[in-house]
Symmetry: C2
Subunit: 340 residues, 2 copies
């Protein structure tokens, strides 16, 4: 089968690999219906993380082709959505809703890789969620978004306690930030401030529910959010970048007692203890336990209540993955869908 591998900065290849097969009785093998490139894939693509034949891709929807002897909830032919972290969904941590930190957690990125025609999914019962039936073609991008960017934006909004009566600010206008806007709207937020300097992303943010756009960044962005919130700051702030500047922007834009939900993968961030202490904010985030939200997200997509697939603004065959990486790296695309 064909699969995408990374061989150092900028060196994306589509290679032939042996088809995956069942190894453990709890495994399933799926045939990918669609996969995509994540903003986090750009870290190794840009050389910020080592890559020597790294198996790429951690977002996926597809059809079950084979199941191990112990798989109970899936049948061959089922259409499934999975999270970017393998989880048994039965351990104490999973039951508390933190499947991304399951005692059997394994990142799909690197070890498995779903920018491929097929993939072996361990702990298939715990990791994969079936759709009510085969989806319509136009629902596939939204279901694929649920696998990570929607699930992550949703977790950020939940961590930030977005909800009725709340003003939510969103730092970051990538796919996760934009879907954080959508999640905040779905959770009932009263006012949603999207922080973005790009006209196309501003437009999508508005479509997803943003009521205000702030183009300023850093302390100027903070001042603007305070100006919009009677000097107090937002109740809830979603951080979807992962840099020192974006984290401090998020913390400073939050009112005392408010909540920061941060999901941008942290790179070279050091939080000053005294400022955090006196800020009085709640801080929660990390790799999103997407599995917690998948049944609800699939349901909303199935009923066509939400259309998170709109973050995909470029679709390519898997064979042209390298072109997709370039488009995202150069910010010509928000998010690239790959068809195996």
């Amino acid at each position: 089968m064909k699969a995408v591998t990374l061989h150092g900065a900028g060196d994306v290849r589509v290679v032939d690999r042996e088809d995956p097969r069942i190894v453990e009785p709890t495994d399933a093998v799926i045939r990918l219906a669609a996969t995509c490139i994540c903003g986090s894939d750009l870290w190794p693509y840009r050389g910020a993380e080592p890559a020597d034949g790294l198996l790429m891709g951690h977002e996926y929807v597809g059809v079950v082709e084979e199941i191990g002897a112990d798989v109970r909830t899936l049948e061959v032919g089922d259409f499934v959505v999975g999270s970017f972290v393998i989880s048994d969904n039965t351990c104490e941590i999973c039951r508390a809703g933190y499947q991304s930190r399951c005692v059997h957690a394994e990142f799909v990125h690197g070890g498995i890789g779903t920018q491929a025609e097929r993939a072996r999914i361990p702990y298939a019962d715990g990791t994969l969620v079936t759709t009510p039936g085969p989806p319509d073609d136009d629902q596939v991008p939204s279901l694929l978004a649920a696998s990570d960017v929607l699930g992550t934006g949703w977790f950020a909004a939940v961590a930030a306690e977005a909800g009725p009566g709340k003003t939510v600010a969103v730092v970051g206008d990538g796919a996760v930030g934009l879907l954080g806007v959508l999640a905040a709207r779905e959770l009932g937020a009263e006012r949603i401030i999207a922080m973005s300097r790009h006209a196309d992303r501003q437009a999508l943010a508005r479509d997803f529910g943003a009521t205000d756009i702030v183009t300023e960044r850093g302390d100027e962005g903070v001042a603007k959010v305070k100006e919009l919130t009677g000097g107090l700051g937002a109740h809830s702030v979603i951080e979807a970048v992962g840099t020192q500047e974006s984290m401090m922007q998020a913390i400073r834009a939050t009112r005392p007692g408010g909540h920061v939900g941060y999901v941008g993968v942290s790179h070279d961030v050091e939080l000053p203890g005294d400022e955090l202490f006196f800020s009085g904010v709640h801080l929660h985030g990390g790799p999103a336990p997407v599995r917690r939200f998948l049944p609800d997200l699939i349901d909303r997509i199935w009923k066509r209540e939400i259309d998170p697939g709109r973050v995909f603004d470029l679709e390519l065959p898997l064979a042209e993955a390298a072109q997709g990486y370039r488009a995202m790296d150069e910010r010509r695309a928000i998010k690239v869908l790959l068809r195996p």
Copy 2:
């Protein structure tokens, strides 16, 4: 009147000052029934913060002697307990329960000073809470504890989401940590791990509800907490020290998805973003909004359900304040009560 002032490291003086008087119509003047020395007073006492005639003390109970024209909820003669931060208790931040960050917040420490015979309390209606009547003498230490150390330990336990079914670990065995143990017990925690190396404090921790004592610190302490919690870490961790080591100990001892409530005043702490991100913990803390909890805490003390006053193991006349500072600095006393 007599008042305690600090004039550089180790230089505690009891000086004569003019009696305070009503300045704003929302002020009250109280006569102190008791006051005390806080662990946080040791930072300037040890020279870590500047002090040149600094008015000391921020914990207080006493009797209302005079009220301004706009004070509505207090009468002369009322016995009152106040928080270490002035609050109007009506602004949006106060109504959300974050009175320590009230839009009119002012720290009692420094500007007001309650290690004194009398004190002027601004925003008296919002800051002071009356007891149901004059307390018995033996209830005064517990009511005084509510003013800060109990209220702060309680906030830490609430921030850490201590409650039924939860295992709570407490980092720090000062008065706040010990009362964090008591708060966790009152909130229904199933298991409470006190981290302490001092026999007298261990004994008090057990009396307050600790079920386990861990004497190890740092990563060894973390390993011990994990050993006691099936390898997962505690659900809830109270941090009541404020150093880099104690913060990392708290974060690392918490399971993914668990809660750290941190109230140790942060000194020279830098939190590594990547470790925090992948920890998946909730982090919340800062100067405790004691005012939020005062009515409930006074009620529990009044009914003799809790005896937080036991943290006071040395009582001195106000005139001997310097001796009290020395005793706490040398860890000969957990907490010193001063009688004006």
